[in-house]
Structure formats: C-alpha cells, structure tokens
C-alpha cells in the first residue's frame, strides 16, 4: 500500500484518497473516472482508496503521511488548506506546472479562489458545492403559497415558514442544520448580512464579532425560539430525511445532496439560491484535489496529471450528475450531456448560478479547532446557554488566541 514512486519501467503507481460525503455507492463512479484517466495516461496507475468521511480521510491522510505512507493525491475539504500547508503535506501547483492559466478557464473563480493562498494555487476544484435552499412544492401548495416563488429574503423566508407551519402543511417551516457544518450555515447568514471577508484572510478568521454576524446569529436563534425551526440544535445528517418526510417545508443544505433528494423525494421540490438579508450569498463548499508532498518529482507530476485529468469538463460533468455536486466550471456546463441534464433538471443549475454571489468558505489555520469552536458557540446560543453578542465576542477573542501564532506570517 501507500504506493507512490516511479517504477523501474518508468511507470508510476499512485495512491489517491477520497471521501464519500454523500450516501450510497459513489465509489464506483470514482473508480470509473480514475480508470478513464489512467487509460489516457499510460504509465500511471492509481489506487483509489475510499477513506470514509471528509474527517476520516483527513485523519487517514495525516496519519499515513507521518509514516511516509500517505497518499499522492487526495480529495479533501478546501477548508483544510492551511492545515495541510502548515503540516507541510502538500505542494503548490506552481512547482509542477509553470503555466497554470488553464485553471482560470476551466474553473469558476469562486471555486478556484478556495485553492489559493499565499499567492499560490494549491489544489484543483473537484467536488464542489454551495448551500442552496430546497423547498417542498407540495407543502407550499398546501399552505397556500406559490410553489414557484420560494423566499428570496429573510423576511419572506420567515413569513413563508410561518405560513407553512400555521397551515399545518408541515411540522416546521424551515430547517437549517446546526451540527457538523453549522459554521458553514452561519457563514452564509453572515454573508447575507453584509459581513466582509468571511472567507478569512491568510488563514485568519476575524468576522465573527462583526455586527452582521451578531445579527445573523440572533436571527437564527429567533427562528428556533419562534418555533418555525426545531428548538435546540438541528442534526446535519437527519435534516434531509426530515425534508424528504415532509416534516419541513424548506431546508438549507449542500447541493451535494441534490441527487439524494432527487431520487428519494416523492413530491415536487424546488431549489433556489439562499435568501438575502441585505444581500444574497453563500459560501462555497466541498473538496478539492490536493497533490501531496511525497515521492519524487515524477510521482508528483503524475499525481498532478491525474488531478488535472479528473477535472476535465466531461468528467466534471459526469461527476456532477452522478453525485449532485456542482460541475466546477463553465466548460463542463457546456458539454452536451450537462446541457441536457440542466434542461431536464433545472434545479441542478441553481448552485452554479449562485456562484455569482458566492464567497469562499472560511478557511483558517487550525481549521478543525476553529470550526469546532464556532459550532460550539452556535450550539450554545441556539440551546439558550448564551446570548449571541457576548458569545460571539468571546468566540472571536478565543479564536484570536488560537490563531495568534499565525498572525502576520
């Protein structure tokens, strides 16, 4: 295992780790994509290793790398960029390719941006998402709402959610998950409230105590208190099921869930961009392909080749359709199959359209700890243990403490 290295015959064996973040057997799809790439690139073979969730994959990659058995290539969260850099696990792509201009054509700038740091590009967008708003058209109809006019502002959202609930069409008007990726949801609300620089600057997060952030959290809490959302925290993993069961009329979730919802909803559903407070917006999300700092130059080159191959428009389109993730660039959307798909299933294009107003996902040093801290604060507020303003102020200062060693690096 752990391949990596040029064989005597000039062939290169690579190991690639990937998570499956959406339910079901996506491993086959990955295997197919890999197979077609190795076919195209003779002399390279790839062992594609399914490695659990994003978190499992990160653990595995770290652990294995420490023993020099790590992957040559891995799909990992974009938010782990600084963590991987700080651990000196990855290489900037400029060391492998003098001319990276092709990436600007192939990928949407919002996605590309989350691979960039310290004036370098470190990863290629692969399974990318934004948060979108799903709504149950049957429920809308039952509640006397226009199923084709989902909310576009916070006020509308609250109003419609309340209508849904009062009419009894669904138990809850809205669900926004607050565990696991609650920080991601929170970032969306902050963006919508006009907070700047939520993506973090040079791996430093400092937007949390901004007035817009406080407003966002207050708004979120008010919805759990008014009962249009479940009280307390809402589980990331069971939110889609609630939506599919018709328990909630609207949910915010990753577009990565689109295929799941599509194949399991027994009602008509719509997908729309997230509503605006002062402005619309969503963070991007999902994982990129990273080339690891191991093996010889040839190996890294081969890893880069495969990474590049996997992001080619045809494959990106294929992956998008099979998984529900957003195809990562305009070229992919222009492929025939994708065009057909978007026509037949227009919901798929929403996330892409939202990219216009999308911001990179918060990416910080010590990403694991920082996002955990944010999640804890959200949970504390939503469960009534703390007030938004002091909690966020405290949070920001705690995070400042954690990130102090990285300041001004």
């Amino acid at each position: 295992g752990g391949g990596g290295g040029a064989g005597s015959d000039g062939s290169v064996d690579l190991t690639m780790y990937y998570p499956v973040a959406v339910g079901g057997p996506l491993t086959d799809v990955v295997d197919d994509l890999i197979a077609s790439c190795t076919e195209e690139n003779e002399g390279i073979s790839v062992e594609a290793v399914y490695s659990g969730t994003y978190a499992d994959t990160m653990t595995k990659a770290q652990t294995a790398s420490r023993s020099n058995q790590g992957p040559d290539l891995a799909v990992l969260l974009t938010t782990d960029l600084y963590t991987l850099m700080d651990g000196e696990l990855i290489v900037p792509l400029s060391t492998l390719d003098d001319d990276l201009s092709w990436t600007e054509d192939r990928f949407y700038p919002a996605y590309l941006a989350s691979g960039q740091a310290e004036d370098e590009l470190w990863s290629l967008p692969f399974q990318r998402s934004t948060i979108v708003q799903y709504h149950n058209k049957d429920v809308f109809e039952e509640a006397g709402l226009d199923p084709e006019a989902p909310p576009t502002t916070w006020d509308e959202l609250e109003e419609q959610a309340a209508t849904i609930q009062d009419s009894g069409a669904a138990e809850y008007g809205l669900e926004i998950p607050s565990t696991q990726f609650g920080n991601w949801m929170f970032q969306a609300m902050a963006i919508q409230s006009g907070v700047e620089d939520t993506a973090g600057v040079d791996g430093i997060v400092d937007y949390l105590d901004a007035p817009g952030s406080v407003e966002a959290l207050e708004w979120w809490r008010s919805m759990t208190e008014s009962g249009i959302m479940p009280s307390g925290t809402t589980e990331w993993a069971s939110t889609p099921e609630d939506f599919l069961q018709g328990r909630t009329g609207i949910m915010w979730h990753t577009t990565g869930n689109l295929t799941n919802v599509r194949s399991n909803a027994d009602f008509d559903f719509g997908v729309s961009i997230l509503p605006a407070n002062t402005q619309p917006g969503s963070p991007t999300g999902g994982g990129n392909l990273y080339v690891f700092d191991r093996g010889d130059e040839e190996t890294r080159a081969a890893a880069y080749t495969i990474a590049r191959c996997l992001t080619e428009p045809e494959r990106a389109a294929e992956w998008s359709m099979r998984s529900g993730y957003v195809a990562t660039g305009p070229e992919a959307w222009e492929t025939d199959t994708m065009v057909d798909y978007a026509e037949e299933f227009p919901q798929a294009a929403v996330a892409r359209d939202q990219l216009e107003v999308a911001v990179g996902e918060t990416t910080s040093h010590e990403n694991g700890r920082v996002s955990q801290m944010i999640n804890d604060t959200i949970a504390a507020v939503l469960t009534g243990q703390a007030e938004p303003e002091p909690a966020l102020t405290q949070l920001q200062s705690d995070i400042d403490g954690v990130l102090a060693p990285y300041q001004g690096r």
């Binding site: 978190a55 990160m58 653990t59 770290q62 652990t63 963590t83 651990g87 138990e171 607050s178 565990t179 696991q180 479940p230 009280s231 307390g232 925290t233 809402t234 589980e235 993993a237 069971s238 099921e241 609630d242 069961q245 328990r247 010590e366 694991g368 700890r369 955990q372 999640n375 804890d376 604060t377 949970a379 504390a380 939503l382 469960t383 243990q385 060693p405």
Partner: protein
C-alpha cells in the same frame, strides 16, 4: 482471601515458577509493549513538548486552563455514574433470568446480546433516528401518549442522558454474557441448600450468588468503568460531542484534538490525564474490591 496460588502454597520456593510465569506472559507482553506501552510513552513524550517543540509543561498548563477539558471530565464522570451501575445491575438481572428455566430462553438471550453484535457505526445511526425529534419512534410514541416531545440530542439537558440510555442498552447484554458464564461456576447445591433453609430467591441471590460472583463483578466493574471513558464511537455519528460540548467525553476530545485539530502534543497531555484518572480508579478498585472477592 483464600486465593492461595499453588506457588504460594509451596511458599513460592520454586524458582522455576518465576521463570515459567514470565514465559507465559512474554508473548502477550511483546504485543502489549509494541502496540500499547510504547505508543503511550511516545504520546507522553510528545505531551512534554510545547507547540514550538520545547520541552516543558506547557501542555499541562493549557490543560488546567482549558474549560472544555473540565467540562468533558465532568460529563464523563456523570456518564460513568449514570451508566456503570445501571448496566451492571441489568446485566446481572438478565444473566439470572436467562440462566433459569424461562420460556424462549435462547431467544431472550439473543435479544439481550444483539446490541453487542450490532456494529456501532450502524447502531448509532439507528439510535439517531430513534431520537430524532418528531419522526423518531420515541417521539412518535410520546406524542401518541400526549407527552411533550423534545429534541433529545439537540438539547444540552437531555443529550447526555439520551446517550447514557443508549450506552446502557449497548453494555448490559455485553456484561450479561460474562455473568452468565460466571453463574456456571456456582454449584447448584448451594441454591438447594438455601431453598431448604427457606431462603427466597432474592435472599439467596444477595447472600450467596452475588458474593460468589464477585470475581466477575470486579471484572465487569473495571471494564464498565473504563468503557464509560472509552466508548465514543457513537459520538461521531450521533452528536459529535455537541451541542456545545454537552455530550463531549474525554476520549472523544482527545480524538478530536489529535485528529481534527492535529494537535498531538496536547492530545498527549489529555491522554496522560485519562491514564491517570483510570489508573487511580483501577488502583482504588483493586485495593478495595480485590480483597473482598472470594475466588473459590
């Protein structure tokens, strides 16, 4: 008390027994050292290093000031208090039940044991569903009975008890197996003698069965206590330690620190804290309990 070993019996004079005992232990110790002791020493070593690689007590100073550490410690103590006695009591009850003549004994035995068989990764998801507000069976039953439902795992007040229930479910049948095996060591004549004395089954249990099961109880107690600090698989799926650390446990925190926060030094310090806590508990258990255990 009466646990004189043959070696003790002969005054331990046989030098051969010493070497022999160590030879028996050797294979196990090779593995233990390689995969437990040595790694622990390594993590102790790394706990003695600060962020920048300096040797020192920085990590332990951090630990003392870390409110999350104290919270997970508190959680864990409550978790142990809430799960250990209950699952042990249930285990004995189950063992006594399925050891008796009981209609459908094998079926009931299987039922009690299923939690042990079911993989934690799957079972946690099923319990997640059981607890999920509204659609979960627990809430369905409660609302059918007009009892207010709640967001079991989303509420800091209920999340830990909810996980304790699941833990008890998971552990009781597991311990039952060992009690069942322990019951086989008891002579049925003792129960007969008690019957003739007119002792109720409860009395016999209290005065005879339970004291004679003490070796098993000591074992189960030690295991249950360490498990209360050790089993965290369900947290990954059910709560992630949330909301706001309300269900976070020490080992999960260690895991997070090591593998989500990639902070091995601090994880090492936390690990040492765990070793010390459980070590103290074990010493206490052995000094207090082992003396009272009647082995033969």
């Amino acid at each position: 008390m009466t646990a004189t070993t043959p070696a003790a019996r002969r005054g331990g004079r046989r030098l051969g027994d010493q070497a022999f005992a160590w030879a028996l232990l050797a294979p196990a110790f090779v593995v233990l050292i390689a995969f437990t002791h040595y790694p622990i020493i390594r993590s102790a070593w790394s706990s003695a290093h600060g962020r920048n690689g300096d040797l020192g007590t920085a990590q332990y100073e951090r630990l003392v000031q870390d409110p999350v550490f104290w919270q997970v410690l508190r959680n864990n103590l409550w978790f142990a208090v809430g799960t250990v006695p209950t699952s042990m009591a249930l285990a004995i009850l189950m063992a006594v039940w399925v050891n008796n003549k009981l209609v459908g004994k094998s079926f009931v035995r299987l039922a009690y044991f299923t939690p042990t068989i079911l993989p934690m990764v799957a079972v946690a998801s099923i319990w997640l569903f059981f607890y999920s507000p509204g659609i979960g069976p627990i809430d369905q039953v409660l609302s059918a009975l007009d009892i207010p439902t709640r967001n079991w795992l989303g509420n800091p007040d209920t999340v830990l008890p909810a996980l304790m229930v699941m833990m008890i479910w998971k552990q009781a049948g597991f311990f039952m197996i060992f009690y069942l095996a322990g019951l086989q060591n008891l002579s049925p004549e003792l129960e007969e003698a008690s019957k003739l004395e007119g002792a109720s089954r409860w009395y016999h249990f209290r005065r005879v069965t339970f004291p004679l099961l003490m070796p098993t109880t000591l074992f189960v107690f030690v295991v249950a206590l360490t498990d209360a600090f050790k089993i965290i698989d369900h947290l990954f799926i059910m709560t992630g330690g949330g909301p706001n650390n309300a269900s976070n446990l020490l080992l999960f925190y260690i895991y997070d620190t090591a593998f989500s926060f990639f902070d091995p030094n601090y994880a090492g310090a936390l690990t040492m804290a765990l070793v010390v806590i459980l070590g103290l508990a074990a010493i206490l258990q052995f000094t207090v309990l082992e003396r009272r255990v009647h082995y033969r």
